[in-house]
């Protein structure tokens, strides 16, 4: 819907010889409104007790917001693909590190609990 608008704006707004893509101000405002709505949604979800789903919902909405910021505010939609892969690669490493370390710490958690119990045992025979 905004494509025609964008083309219109670019045609009149962009100076000849400009490097890169000029974002129409209407697009920027729409992006901000989207982000504000998503903020309201994430605050709203947090007020309802959904158990573990609260964490999933909060991170999910945050990921959508981050994507909106990178694609439009950071121009990644119009940028060189290589820059996109730098960001995706970085995010993949972040997910890998958090996921792997969480998996690891959970795997050994029962050993920690056993150790704590054993240490308390002699004190209360």
């Amino acid at each position: 819907m905004s494509e025609a608008h964008a083309a219109h704006d670019d045609h009149h707004g962009q100076l000849p010889g400009t490097i890169g893509h000029v974002s129409p101000w209407q697009t920027l405002v729409k992006v901000l409104v989207t982000l504000l709505i998503l903020t309201v949604i994430t605050v709203g979800i947090a007020q309802i007790d959904l158990g573990r789903l609260n964490v999933v919902g909060a991170i999910g909405v945050a990921c959508i917001k981050a994507s909106v910021v990178t694609l439009w505010f950071m121009h990644l939609r119009y940028d060189k693909r290589f820059n996109f892969f730098i960001l995706i690669g970085s995010f993949a490493l972040v997910a890998w590190m958090i996921g792997y370390i969480l998996f690891d710490t959970m795997l050994y958690q029962h050993n920690v609990q056993d150790y704590k119990r054993d240490r308390q045992a002699p004190a209360t025979p």
Partner: protein, 244 residues
Amino acid sequence: MSTGVAEHDTKHETLPARPPELAMHFDNMHQQFHSGKLGMWLFLGQELLFFCGLFTAYAVYRGNHQEMFHYAHYFLDTKMGAANTVVLLVSSLTAAWSVRCAMLEQRKGLLITLALTFLCAGAFMVVKYFEYAHKLHIGAVWGGGFHVQTADLPPELLAKYPEMTGEKLKDMGVGSFFAVYFCMTGLHGLHVLVGMGLYIWLFIRALKGHFNRRWYGAVDNVALYWHIVDIIWIFLFPLLYLIG
């Protein structure tokens, strides 16, 4: 000899005019712009990994001590966190708009958007100051230093758990939550302060009449940095303030 001079002269005339903004080690303005941007993206990718260590610490603590995070989240003021989120989102708009103004060579618009971004960043730090001051005042600090009196506990926490005391929270290790909290928000706040410095620098350069449609890399790259600071907060806000 005279022919040699003539040749030299014609050679000189056919060379394309070199823009004064073009650094000597680049061929043209496009190459200069995209090299700078590539460097910025590599830095931003590294910034995410830098914060990743703290997010991992958060995930491990939270995974192993859910109750600690549940009690601790009552200490954080959702209203202040939400206000800061809105302030940062608005500053992201003005930052993106400043790039637009630089590209369109709208000097007045550029100065206004740069100033607004700086002011929003300042507002963020003011809210942060009030949050930190309150926590330090009641003793909600990191590690073993945590020493909140029962009377100073958040009313919502006492309403739900009337038997809760400051001692119990200390023994539970709520100080570890605040270690994570202060490290994450502190490092983020430090980035906001750096961003404020960068926006002063951009403002002065814009006043001097720098930047045009082919030479706005500094405005663009600082805006990219600013958006990453915004994205980090987009994750920090729900993780610290919202989910309990």
